[in-house]
Structures are given as C-alpha cells and as structure tokens.
Symmetry: C2
Subunit: 418 residues, 2 copies
C-alpha cells in the first residue's frame, strides 16, 4: 500500500520569508521518486503550540509526518521536547550521542571544551529511534505511537537533511511498500521563448505519450517537463523516455540537456570528448562564466583559466585588445569581445577562447547600448562566432543569461562542426 506523507517545515524564518524552504522541495522530489505522494505541505513558526497543533492534525489525517528544523542547540529549537510531549515520552540523555558530539567538536578544531548548549542535542525521547546525522551534530529521531502513526524529525540544515533523507528516510519508506510512481523528466532548452516552443511542439504542446507537459521558464531558459502519475514504475520509465525523445526531436538545437544536467556539464563533456580546452575573458560577468564552468567536478581537464578584465587597462595589457578599437567602438562592442576571446586563447594556449563584454547595470546604459546589452565572442581554433543581445532582468539575471548564452555558443560551435 502506498501511504501518503505530510511535510511540516518549522521555523519563523520560513514564514517571515528570510529563508527559502529548499528542504520541502528536496523531500518532495525524493519521496515522489519512490511513489510516496506528499499530501500536504505546511509551514509553522518556532512556537510550541503551533508545532504541536500542526503535527497532531497531520498525524490524524495521514499517519505519517516528516518535520524539518528545530533540532539545533539554541533556545528556539523546540521540535524535540514538543514532540516528545505530544507522544507522552520523557527525554533522556543518550551517552553515545554525547560522545559523538565531543568527538565532532574536537575534530573540527574549534578549540576549548564543547559548549554545554550542544548537549541539548543528545536528548532523546524514550522509545525513539535515533537516525544518525553523518554531516552534523543533531541526529534525527523517529517516534511511533501505539496505532503505528509516526513522525520523523530531521534537522533544518539542508546538507544534513539531504544526506539523512537519502540514507534513512527513502530506504525506510520504500521498504514499507510502494505502488504506482509519480515521476517526471524534463528537456532543457535555451535561447527560445516559451510560446515559440509551444508552436514548435505543435500537437505535442499539451501532452506526449499520454503524459502532460509543463513549461518552466528560468534563468537558464525554459525546461519542458513531462510527468507520469499513477503508473507502474516500468511503464512510467518507458513512456517518459519516449516522450523525452519526441520532445528533443521537435525542439531541435534549442534542447541542450535533459533533467537536472547543467549547461556547463554539457559543454565540458563535449570539450573533453573532442580534446578542446577553454579559457575565458570576462568583463561584465566578472568571473561568473569561470565560476559556472568550474562548479563541475573534473572541470580542470578542460578549463585552463582566464582573465577577469573589468578595466580597459587589463583588456589592453593582458589580452591585447586594441586601445583604438575601445575608443572607436566602446568597450562593449564586437571587436573588443572578439579580441578578448582571441587574446585569452593566445595567453593560455586554450583551443577555445570566450570574450564577454556588456552593460550589466543598473547604471552605465546609453540609448545606443542600454542596460542588458552584451557582446559575446567564441573563438574555436581561430573560427569566431559572436552574439549580441539585450538581456532583460536585473544585474544578476543579465550576468547569468550572458554566461548561459556564452556556453550555448560553445556547444553549438562544437556540435555543428564534425
């Protein structure tokens, strides 16, 4: 039998909007993948009565609740005592957790003895199962009542929660018996508008292989997601794979990846396969292209490095950009982007050089070159292609989009040459 689960995320910071609730989405994805639907999601404050009420109601509705947050060492961490009380259990200090806390403190080299407030994390309700937290100090806890209703308490630190979900929660729920799955795949596109995509897909706009489509625009472009709901696992996989292939065919060159794969990974793999190396010369993006490329593990096989050329002096002295061209065409111009790309290739010996120069805003725009204007040049062994666009959005969005297009230009240059 498939059981459904409610998620209760605890923390004033979530209700006040000071923190984005990434834990709820991580749990939704992990549980959806094993066919455990999320019946409801709620957020409550760091308040004993509110936590008690929310968990009591959720237990009544679905019999299975995962809470996140409120397990730390400070006074606003209430989850442990509040839920112990709800289940009618005393708290007792667990000597093995105390020992682990002392060991972790020492290993991190903070110096001095363990601050006593940390020992709050060693209190365990009688009869609770302790879920090891390999990434942090506060262990998770599982309490089950006489009717078999359960609550799992996870810490709010995303890295710890993710690890514990994968290690403890997913195997435990999967072992309780799954059924049909709720699963999705997606085709990632860039440099094409949502409505133009819909026109390209034509009769597939609404559904493919009997599965519904959704369009998710983001900074990297539009992701087309296809979802299988209420199917057996094998059937879902087969139809999702077929749907992805048909969408890719309809979308053509605009489709750069599937599922969660980043553009940087696509570009690095193409380069590694073909023995290409990359160097970047960045003005308005200030290192962001380098940062995005090197975010990928193993990128050092392809990325050599580059120059952050925020000033004209660095463009001229380090990259050999012509001062005359800067004077004549401006720093945000095609010749400057091209010379930056060529210059950084020469400097580093990379086979591919990228030059980016633009107006990221909010100031510095002119009628001729409004905020968002960016010139990008990609030089692949001497063959140069360029792009000029006016990106819409704030400074962060303009810079992010420019680096996405720069990587897409490398990708297109490589897939269109044999």
């Amino acid at each position: 039998m498939t059981e459904s689960v409610e998620i209760i995320t605890i923390g004033d910071e979530l209700l006040l909007g000071t923190t984005v609730d990434t834990n709820a989405v991580f749990l939704a994805r992990a549980l959806g993948d094993i066919g455990v639907p999320i019946a409801r999601r709620a957020t409550v404050a760091d308040d004993a009565d509110e936590i008690t009420d929310a968990v009591r109601q959720a237990l009544h509705r679905t019999g299975g609740v995962i809470t996140t947050g409120g397990l730390g060492p400070t006074a606003d961490d209430l989850t442990r005592p509040v839920l112990a009380k709800l289940f009618g259990r005393e708290l007792r200090e667990d000597p093995s957790i105390v020992a682990a806390l002392h060991a972790l403190w020492a290993s991190r080299g903070r110096g001095g003895p363990l601050p006593p407030s940390n020992l709050q994390q060693a209190l365990v309700p009688i009869g609770a199962e302790v879920l090891e937290n390999a990434q942090g100090t506060a262990p998770g806890l599982r309490l089950t009542d006489a009717e078999g209703r359960w609550v799992i308490m996870l810490p709010g630190v995303p890295r710890e929660l993710r690890h514990m979900t994968t290690e403890h929660i997913v195997p435990w729920l999967a072992a309780r018996g799954g059924g049909t799955v709720l699963r999705s795949r997606s085709v990632r596109t860039t440099s094409i508008a949502e409505s133009a995509l819909a026109e390209k897909l034509g009769p597939l706009t609404r559904q493919v292989e009997g599965l519904p489509l959704a369009y998710l625009p983001g900074h990297d472009g539009v992701d087309i997601r296809v979802t299988a709901r209420g199917l057996e696992a094998d059937d879902a996989t087969r139809r999702l794979d077929a749907a992805v292939a048909r969408i890719q065919e309809a979308v053509g060159v605009y489709a750069y990846a599937t599922d969660g794969v980043a553009m940087a990974s696509v570009v690095l793999e193409l380069c590694a396969d073909r023995g290409e190396t990359i160097a970047v010369a960045e003005s308005c993006t200030g290192g962001l292209l380098g940062a995005r490329l090197t975010e990928v593990a193993g990128s050092s096989r392809v990325v050599l490095g580059g120059v952050i050329a925020y000033t004209n002096a660095i463009k001229e002295q380090e990259l050999g950009v012509s001062a005359d061209d800067i004077r004549e065409h401006g720093a945000v111009s095609e010749p400057v982007a091209v010379q930056m790309a060529r210059g950084v290739r020469g400097m580093t010996g990379a086979t591919i050089g990228v030059g980016i120069t633009g107006v990221a805003g909010p100031d510095g725009g002119t009628p001729d070159k409004p905020v968002g204007t960016v010139w990008i040049a990609v030089d692949v062994r001497g063959d140069v292609c360029t792009s000029r666009a006016i990106y819409i959005g704030d400074r962060g969005e303009i810079r992010h989009r420019a680096t996405q297009v720069a990587m897409d230009l490398i990708r297109r240059a490589l897939i269109t040459t044999i």
Copy 2:
C-alpha cells in the same frame, strides 16, 4: 483592522520539487513588513479541481487569497479560467492587453507574428481588475465577490511577481488599514559556530529587548535574527534597532553586516571609502570570488579584475608563482597563495591582491591535504595575511565558503588598520 491572507502557490513543479518556491517567501516578507500576517501557505498542482478547492477553502477561512502561477500562455496554465468559473464570471478578451502583447513581442525582436497561444493571456473575467505587469506578458487579476472576499492572481515568474507585489499588492493592502507589525532584523556573522555564538551572547541567547532570537546557519555563516511581533510600528523599530546594536556589541568582529547586506557589499564599501582597489587570483574557486564581488552594482569603482589560474602554467606565467615552490610545497600551499596574491597585485596595480588555492573536490584530496583544504592570502599594499582551513561540505559549499573567508580577510585587514 489587520486582515490575514493566505497564499496558494500553483504548479506541479512545486509539489514535485523541481522548482523552489521563492515566490511564497517573497510575498511573506513583503506582507510581513506591512503587518499583514500570512495565515497559511499551501501548494497545489496544475489541476482545475485542486485549484478550485484550495481557493474556495481559503476564501472561506480568511477572505483574502493571493495565488501565484498558472497565468502563462500554455495548456497547463489554468488559474484564469478556473477562478473565473469559481466566481461565476465569463472570460472576455481585453483589447488593450492584446495590443500590449503585440507591442511587447515586436519590441523583443523575436521576429514573425505573435504566436496565437499568447492571446490566452488577454482573457479577463468580467468585473476583474487588471494589474499591469510591466516586466512580462501575463497581467495580474483581482476578483472580488459580493461579500468583499477577494483573490489576487499573480504570475509565477519571480521577477514579474516581485515587481507587481511592490507596485500593486503592497500599496493596496497597506491602504486597507494596518495595525501591529511582524518585522525582523538580523545580524550576520561568519567564521564562528552557532553554539559558540550562543556562548558569546550569554544572557542574550534567548531574547534581547524582550524580542526572541533565532539562529540561521547558512553558507555565509550564521545569521542571528530578532523578531518583533504584535507591536506598533514605532515601538518595533526602536526595539529592533536597540537589539541589533546589543547583539553586534556581544558578537564583536564576527558580525560583518546586518539584515540582507552581502559580505561583498561590506568589503566594496570599506574599499571605496579608503581608496583601495581589489584584484583576484583564483585557482579552486575558478572566478567565483570575482563573480561575487562584481555581483554588486558599482563594483567597478573597486574591482579591477584578475586571473583565473586553474593550471600551474597560468600561475607561473601570469602571476609569477615560483615553479620550485609549487614542486616543493604543492599548488595548494601558503607560499603559492601568497605569490598569487602578490602577483595579481603587480599585474593589475591593485592595492589589494587575493590568492586562493585549494582542493574543492570531490577528487584530488590526499591525507595531507584532504578535500576542503584551502589556502587564502590577502596582500594589502604588501602586508600579507593568510588563512588555511578545511571546509566541510560539497564542492559548491567549499568554494562558496572559501570566497566568504577571502572577503572576510579583506574586511578584517581593513578594519584593524586605521
């Protein structure tokens, strides 16, 4: 009278966890600041029945609902027709929205005529108020029933939602009469553990000025948040300001900013005030320090640029790092970080040079230098300070923490010299 509001975010992608719900937090913050509490937050699928049910129930409970998402041009965008039906209104094409859609399409230079699917966005329920969307295609809508209960539909694209919230929603709700406020401020700290902060705060650990504290650990360090609830606006402001000052005094040099101010902004302002300029030399962070510094508008007054020195060859040739030192001490070592910082100062003429070299992982660690080991050097006009640490986390976290510490070293170097 203060009314409370429910937020319903619509989209399979939110339930499935493919997208993080940043809209709900933005709304929570904007409404909290004018004293309008969020009574409940719910997330529903792109499904007509679920949207209808959720909105009907929320209207019954609180009488005021804000929905996000489902207003776009594709088949999964259901909010407009579903809520028109719930309110018993026909949909009619609005000629001024049609004209605006054509104009926007043309101005973005997509080429060709407007795809017809876009015209779905021009349908307006009779009697609805149209809320202009200056940032995108789909306008917002407000429907009010005979009993004065209302629903506001906002688009799901975060940039558009943020703009419309500020322009339309906040002034409208504020004009309906506020009362007490729910407001918070925070003190941002870095390079200190949560439990060590609690010890430093001593008697202030739980509350300051009668206001409760919360500790929010993140990649930038731990933010200490203080919250005022149910107070008049003036009283809240006075007590929050006093609390922030007391926390800052207790925490000392670890407190680098308040509220949402980024470390990069703090560093850039210090540098601008003192006439300092920055150049970066990055190995394992691959441009991320440059990217974070130049994320701030106006950073070109301080940041000159730098070198992404992913390979040893670039470290030697462009930054003058001694090949002997790399052989003897390894690329991840104090002398290499110091020479990178000095080299990039010399190359660019900056007054401050930063060198970062480390093992970001997941591979490349050794018993001597495990994954997470990072050496950072900051050279301020020839005075050099260095830091070695082993950062915990994945590749992204290690890189982020290293750039945070690099900026903190600049900050500390500047505030401890007159």
